[in-house]
Symmetry: D2
Subunit: 354 residues, 4 copies
């Protein structure tokens, strides 16, 4: 029976919320029935997300103000909740909904790290450290078995997705040294969210490109290191440099690792193909380098590998759409796996090109 | 019975072709089975449209070289053909396929104008003027009855769609003078297609904004005047100024018309709502002005109206995505109507925001 | 003797302030000696304008907090003050400096309108209506005689500059009807200033294009009408529609007017050439249409004219850089005229292309 | 006596040519008297560079067709020639002009490499290898003594400038290991020049970001390695990854090197300050990271340094304008040094911000 699950979004007024509405609308087995938000509670969704004006039932939905005490009411309405909330808030909301019986897909950082201490060093005190052991890191290609049946899914961060996908196969297969890895990422501005700021002001972003939170200070570093260490079977430390670039969507990551003897670019490609198969991660053939435009609006990732012989360096590249594969679409993909559905059910696999 | 129609695209390697692949993939009753192109014949679709790399069955489809003599072979394979070809070529291909029994949706200008003489003044000799009387102008909201069952559909131009949608209700209802209409349109660069040129070179488009083909010299003028004259019931002449603006997708049209006594902005909105209902054309409420971003990647159009009291001018605004509502998505919408399906079947109604 | 004047800027931390610093640095007879600001008072200029980091003497200048009571102190330091301030504040500061003997070039709207009543309808109560009769509207090509020796210069608005330059010659020469004029302007985002807002958020500007403050509600309408009425010798009312477009700098204006008998495009060009000569306003030859990129960073304006015969409409086009010719560079140009210097002394006449 | 030198540009129709015209116009001791080009010979400069329309004497200058046989005629007209030509052609033209007594500043790669064999591996046969020993690499901060009086100056490449400036002080001072250096550069599209191509087509650049010519295949690698080896006093090999990013101007380089014991970020900053002084290269203080927008249109470079303690990596960042500091402005700066003038004479030091 093709039953349809009732879905709610808490934090529906931001960019990942907007993308979730688009994805759920296109999904044959999900139906959006409830939306909530903090700052915009009481407004209609069409006021907050103007792309929905005139489109029912979404435009007229009134954003609810979620309170943990109302979790049971929410649980009567929805089977699954996506949380697109600031960290700490998200854990509190998620814990309440989970306890009330709602399946939770959290897009914040709150359930991504296995160790409470690691979380607290980066984000401060965790409201519900006892839930960390139940949460599953929602990068489906690497956590399919644990995702099966999961009731608390931590959707990965955008930068970590772009960094882990190309590097995990190399570390799993022992093709590169596990030390000395450098990850240089270039992100579109939508990753900074919907709130205006000097850093995201059009006149200073267009024709402006800059690094920020460098040298181990970005909060995504522990998340990347956790997953790469898991792949490598040993502790991995990385240099991670995020850059803000003048486009709205997309992350391009260029990663550098020291070659182990015998590794060629084709060996690297083969390792990635073996790990990812013919699903939503595509390994480009020799001579092709990926472009963020090729995955815009899609849940696909593209990877490429090359070897710099004169320095014995392996170069691994990836592109994703930060709001789709880097957030909302991957969250739905992980839910599909948790529910035993086809992994790409209802997901946009073809980019809006150009 | 929910049968699926087999679809072919001639001219699949350009931007409207790329968008058609995306739309047909998402459509529950259309299946892409055959692609053809001129310059890129013999190549795989994944080579020509890199967003399809790794995505089967599309990536491996080999672009055929269409020749009219092969029309019967094509007819054995496909029920419907979309033509994304240069004018004149399109009419020749379309005539052959139509004669072989294929339903044709033509995205060129070849079947849009009712009068061969008007066509020839703008485009040169028409290869098949005898077909003009069978062709239906595929702007569904204005031609639903004729589209029903149509076998030769002329998908409207992008600028005409953006100009006709806001003005037709006003002229139909007699709310503005039919003379003195000015249409000032701002288009994204993708409207110029995929072939590189000085006019579409990134370094001279970014931070560059310019008008082109002004003062009645753009070929879309006769198409706009034909449809507005039809709406008005009298001959309408317009000033039309296209501008190239530094974005990839979207057309924003600002049109100016002289008020007739008694017309208010609300009267104009009401006329548009009456004509378009609650479908894919949304009339914004007072105080809201449309933004191209709100319809990016979607087949929806948004309209707004205002009155400048101190000059007795009605201002009508519209936004569409030039490749979606202005080309490929509207072509599919028209086909849906022709086949008696739900008008928005399989179409993206929610924009990729942001 | 080539003496050098000492210059101050009040409101130095914004975009027109930044542009003034660049222009004054390059000017052989102006020297920046004092800067002030409200919100950023006490900070170093290099902190507020990062393009000045490391560049002395500017980087280390501390932004003063101007108070009218200190006008005499300022007057001891500077000969000329540029005011880049919000309206109303600007008039108060300007009045105090003027009274203390400082020559004032005001970039706000406070001294642009001749009639206090017109000002008050748009901006609210004027702090110093008694000064309006002394102020000279600083569009040099149209007000050279009055500018000569002027001690209070009102630098024009960016949109008015782009609208008045192409239309004034037509109205002065009686080539078009003075009623029914439509002005459709497209501006870069820097016109909205340096304060972040939802309207200027990168992710919603890139790929977004929209009209705003339409139908006579933009405050630049009275300014445009004042100057065009002056040129026409009769009251002129206009429709004015500003649009925000995804670029940082530049305004492109497309204006429409009804032809009087006998007017051709060449007659229009001749009228403009007669008025502007071979100075900083260039009238393009037939067949050339202007591009905002061609004047980026320069104080030049480019104009073009065309006639749409089938509707008897004259189309006038202009491009300027909104921060240069539309604000700071034109302010310096007006000062040059006031001081009897060469009109383009020290000004950038060649755009940064591309 | 402040005599003025007569200047010619060969290859004046491209982007570096356009920038040279702007710079020479603003320079008090240079006067542009002659322009030449290959494809556009016979056209007026105003036709080829529309930003010059209406601006004399430049607009009416007719582009000459240079032939080596005419070198003596050119030498009668000009004291200095800037060459903005494709490689190999440039060496031929430069050799002829040099022999005729003209001082040559070459913006191509032809005279940058000290070893003919290294040149030939990257670019093919060198037309005049005998001149390599006379040529001076025109990065003024590193080659001031040799530049003094130089008659053949090789203006550095844009990527090499952005890579050498931040790394040379570290290698000179022995603060990092000379092996394992990784250079990840992000360039604006204007670096690809004025000829349209699929790679520079607006619709596929905006929202598209991609690496190209990776893994040691970019021709700037030998140039970078030559200069860094010189600084280090030992052979240096680097990984260099160029990326095309959606902006017109600017290069942002992020370089990674292995720390030697005792090196801190402040030690690195101090080394750079010692080498560069208070000239056109600014070392940002702790906590500031550079942005390409801060140097747009200027000949300044900005550098920053940080240490990633948990991986013992030094991160060095730089921003330049690729057409200004990365090409034309640095060429003029080198000429200033060669002539014994103030290094920044006539150069734009303040960016057009925003």
């Amino acid at each position: 029976m093709n039953s349809v699950l009732r879905v709610g979004i808490v934090g529906a007024g931001g960019y990942t919320g907007a993308e979730l509405v688009r994805l759920i609308h296109a999904h044959p087995r999900l139906e959006l029935v409830w939306v909530a938000a903090a700052k915009t509670a009481g407004q209609r969704l069409g006021e907050v997300l103007p792309s929905l004006i005139g489109l029912e039932p979404y435009a007229s939905m009134v954003l609810d103000a979620f309170e943990p005490a109302k979790a049971a009411d929410v649980a009567a309405k929805v089977d699954v909740a996506f949380l697109a909330l600031p960290h700490a808030t998200s854990a509190t909301v998620g814990a309440a909904l989970l306890a009330a019986g709602v399946r939770v897909v959290d897009l914040s950082a709150d359930f991504r790290l296995r160790e409470a201490a690691v979380y607290e060093a980066a984000y401060g005190k965790h409201p519900h450290p006892e839930l960390l052991s139940q949460a599953v890191y929602g990068l489906p290609e690497l956590h399919r078995p644990e995702l099966n049946g999961a009731r608390l899914i931590a959707a990965p961060g955008c930068y970590p997705t772009s960094a882990i996908l190309p590097l995990a196969p190399l570390l799993k297969a022992g093709l590169v040294e596990s030390s000395g890895i450098i990850i240089d990422s270039k992100s579109g501005v939508s990753g900074a969210g919907k709130s205006p700021s000097a850093a995201t002001h059009f006149s200073e972003c267009s024709e402006g490109l800059r690094a920020y939170k460098i040298a181990g200070t970005h909060r995504h570093v522990p998340e990347i290191e956790q997953e790469l260490s898991l792949a490598a079977g040993t502790s991995v430390k990385v240099v991670f440099t995020p850059h803000l670039t003048p486009m709205t969507c997309g992350i391009h990551t260029t990663a550098y690792a020291r070659l182990k003897p015998g590794t060629t670019a084709e060996v690297a490609r083969e390792a990635a193909r073996n790990l990812y198969g013919r699903g939503l991660v595509t390994v480009l053939p020799e001579g092709k380098l990926p472009d963020t435009l090729w995955v815009r609006g899609s849940c696909r990732a593209m990877l490429a590998y090359a070897v710099d012989d004169h320095t014995d360096t392996l170069i691994a590249l990836s592109v994703i759409d930060n709001l789709a594969r880097g957030a909302s679409a991957q969250a739905v993909q992980a839910l599909n796996v948790a529910l035993g559905w086809a992994e790409d059910l209802g997901l946009p696999v073809i980019a809006t090109f150009p």
